[in-house]
Amino acid sequence: MPLLDVKNLTMHYTTKMGDVHAVDDVSFAIEPGEAIGLVGESGCGKTSIALTLLRLLPDNAKFLGGSVLFEGVDIVRIPEEEMRKIRWRGISMIFQAAMNSLNPVYRVGDQIIEAIQTHFPIDYQAARRRVAELFDLVGLAPELMDRYPHEYSGGMKQRAVIAMALACAPKLVIADEPTTALDVIVQDRILRRIDEVRKELNMAMLYISHDIAVIAEVSQRIGVMYAGNLVEFADTVTIFKNPAHPYTIALMSAFPSIKGEKRKLQGLPGEPPDLLRPPSGCRFHPRCPYATAVCTESPPEYREIQPQHYVACWHPHLGRS
């Protein structure tokens, strides 16, 4: 049984100007211990999915359909009290921009201890020992436990937030652009650490980013999102060597390869659509070089074109598998 099974998830934001179609009919599954990447441009719905999984959406978010089965339980429909128990213990999250994730008036160690004590009945000293272990795991000196967030550097804060996310030994960790705000060297180090930790603790991970290079490093399977839809989902090698959806193909073409032949980088003309009034039919059709009449009329079905390779397109590019 998959650890996380998302089926036809649909969620909109209600605003003064209308409904923003943030997430439409998204389905995917994560097995225990698996690392999945979710990639897409800004505003394509990746973060919204993450927030939906933890039910951290703002008041104007409308849940419109589908289900999210976590260990068999539909966590979108259970009462808030039940959800509170699952948060952090079952699913935890590493937020984007760790700078602001920590409360400035409390010590970092205490904030992690707070998470632990909420879910486990252990005393303060035992919790402190656990925090020391976690700090060791992410590469922070244990003394830093008693410092305040503003005394940490950017990389240190990110590590602290990772330690906090791992505090309750969750089964699934969602990492939302955890390294965007860091410089490349620190980024590399942290990415490696996250992957090592994941393997050590056998956790599942949902890695969200707009940077496909980063995603490729850490994910076993990748989902490509565009304008609120999941347009392709396959293992990493397939996505890179054998992309089926025109958007994925365009992404790969825009991506320089160190080993491959020298070629001209191709950008993708146009802009992502306004999710208040998404295009009819397939949302990618205004920018798609292969679009035909059917693409403008009806949204394509999300189906398995090859084993473990899902695409939502009327004319998927089928190459070698």
């Binding site: 605003t15 003064k16 008041d59 104007n60």
Partner: protein
């Protein structure tokens, strides 16, 4: 096709006007959404109506000899002043025979004048000083901040007594004094803090590099960006000004002929405030009027707060 061929060339003033109208409409929508802003505005409108109605009434229905707020006198009720409300005098008469409603309506004009003038002066001074302190920093900043400290400690009542002995302390002069004094006080600290957040923005740096003088930057970049906040604080200053004048008039420390505070003061010095319930029309209407006007401007201020400060909005 070149981009420039697609765009219609319009005179600059037209573009500015269009943008201004658009932002005005958007801000109005936000203001309306705050709910309390329009409530305050409604109350202010009510007072404006009172203000306009008075000269109309005086010219048509009311006999000036009886209803004049300052020198009127109702002979018919002589010996029974202050008279309780009746058809002829909906809010009764005061101890010296003048119609209370007429006084109330007439004073509305002076309250508005005083409040708005004083607040305007305060805000203009405060904005200028705040911007200058933020931009130059250093010695200038320290001087003005310590000056603000002194101003906040200032013995206002003593100053008024001194001024009163020298000049006739009427409405406009009081507005000037209050405006100038407040202008150098606490508001400079708040506006300076806001101006500082503007000063560190990249476009200020860009303007400096492009050769903008200090005066130019302050005038064209810093001040326009703190004006929304200034306008907001103006509302709170109107509240403060009206309140202060009312308190001072109530204690008899001013030379104004007629205001809401004076009305209560007249009642008190004639000894009618001892029996509250009996002569309620002497203190309740002016007291309520002062409260309502201050209340209304404060609500408008808070409504504007949601426009200026996005974090306070509902969504």
């Amino acid at each position: 096709m070149l981009i420039s061929e697609k765009v219609k060339i319009e005179p600059l003033w037209k573009i500015r006007l269009r943008l201004a109208i658009r932002s005005l409409r958007r801000n109005w929508a936000l203001f309306w959404e705050s709910r309390i802003g329009p409530l305050g505005l409604g109350i202010i409108l009510f007072f404006v109506l009172l203000m306009i109605a008075h000269p109309i009434l005086m010219a048509t229905v009311w006999d000036p000899r009886v209803y004049d707020p300052i020198v009127g006198f109702d002979r018919a009720l002589v010996g029974r002043h202050p008279a309780p409300p009746s058809w002829a005098h909906p809010l009764g008469t005061d101890p010296i025979g003048r119609d209370v409603l007429s006084q109330l309506m007439w004073s509305t004009r002076s309250e508005f004048a005083l409040g708005v003038t004083s607040a305007l002066i305060t805000v203009v001074i405060g904005t200028l000083i705040g911007a200058i302190c933020a931009y130059f920093g250093g010695v200038i900043d320290t001087i003005f901040m310590r000056l603000a400290d002194l101003v906040m400690l200032f013995p206002f009542i003593a100053l008024l007594m001194v001024l009163r002995s020298v000049i006739h302390l009427d409405l406009w002069r009081l507005a000037l004094v209050m405006g100038i004094l407040s202008g150098f006080g606490g508001i400079t600290i708040t506006l300076k803090a806001q101006a500082l957040t503007v000063k560190v923005k990249p476009y200020i740096e860009a303007a400096k590099v492009a050769g903008g003088s200090a005066f130019h930057i302050i005038r064209h970049h810093i001040i326009p960006n703190i004006m929304p906040l200034s306008f907001l604080y103006m509302m709170f200053n109107v509240t403060g000004a009206v309140f202060t004048e009312a308190v001072l008039s109530y204690f008899g420390l001013l030379d104004i002929r007629m205001s809401w505070g004076i009305m209560i003061h007249t009642a008190e010095s004639a000894g009618y405030l001892g029996a509250f319930g009996q002569y309620w029309w002497l203190w309740a209407p002016p007291g309520a009027a002062i409260t309502l006007l201050c209340f209304a401007f404060y609500l408008v201020g808070r409504g504007l707060d949601t426009v200026v400060n996005p974090r306070l909005r509902k969504r």
